[in-house]
Symmetry: none
Subunit: 129 residues, 2 copies
C-alpha cells in the first residue's frame, strides 16, 4: 500500500473538528487504527498513526528522565503532542494546537506517506508556492 498521499482542502466545523478526507481515512483503516497522535511542529501539525508515534517514542527511550538536558528534550517532544481519535469521521484538535497551527475555519491536509500534516491555508501557500 501507498500510505498517505495528496493535498486536501477541508473546513473545520463550529467546534473546531475537522473531517478526515475519505482517502486518508481509508489508509488509516487499512494500515493503522483510529488512534492518532497529533504533534505541533514549527507552525503546523503532524498526525501520526499510533504505532508510527510509538516508533518515534522508542527512539527517545534511552534518554534519562533524571537528566536535566534529556528531560528538556523529552518535554519538548511530549508537550506538543496529544492523543486523538477519529470519531464519526472527524477529529477534534485541542484549542492550543489549533492556535499553534493558526487554524481557523479552513485547513490543508497533506499526505506524507506514514504521517500527514495539517496546515493553515495561508501558511501552506507560503511554503508550497
Amino acid at each position: 500500500m501507498n500510505g498517505f498521499l495528496g493535498t486536501y482542502n477541508i473546513s473545520l466545523d463550529d467546534k473546531g473538528r475537522l473531517n478526515v478526507p475519505a482517502k486518508l481515512r481509508a489508509t488509516l483503516e487499512k494500515e493503522y487504527g483510529p488512534h492518532l497522535v497529533v504533534c505541533v511542529m514549527d507552525g503546523f501539525l503532524i498526525v501520526f498513526p499510533q504505532n508510527e508515534w510509538a516508533t518515534n517514542e522508542e527512539k527517545l527511550s534511552h534518554l534519562n528522565a533524571f537528566d536535566k538536558g534529556d528531560r528538556n528534550r523529552l518535554r519538548e517532544f511530549y508537550a506538543g503532542a496529544t492523543e486523538c481519535k477519529i470519531k464519526s469521521g472527524r477529529i477534534l484538535l485541542p484549542a492550543n494546537q489549533r492556535e499553534a497551527a493558526g487554524l481557523k475555519k479552513d485547513a490543508v491536509l497533506v499526505g506524507m506517506s506514514k504521517t500527514f500534516e495539517i496546515w493553515a491555508p495561508d501558511r501552506w501557500t507560503r511554503v508550497s508556492g
Copy 2:
C-alpha cells in the same frame, strides 16, 4: 497506550486544589490508580502515578547510602515528595509544594509519558519559548 501527553492550562480553586484534566485522568484510571506521588524538582513539580514512583525508587536504590553526594541527592528527592490522591477529579497540593513551584492561581500541566509536570505559567513560558 500512550501515557500522558500534551499541555493543559488549568486554574486552581480558592483552596489551592487543581483539577486534573480529563485526558490525564483517563490515562490515570486506565493505566494506573488514583494514588500519586508529587515531587519537587528544579522549580516545578513532577507527578508520579504510585507504581511509577516505586520503579523510580528502585532505580535509586543502587545509590550508596554512605556516599555523601548520593545521600544528598536521595534526601532532596524524598524530602520534596508527598503522596496525594485524586478526590472528585482534583488534587490538593500541599502549601509548601505550591510555593516551591511558584503556583498561585493558574498552572500548566505537561504530560511526559509516564509522569506529568506542573508548572507556574511564567516559569513554563520561560522554558517552552
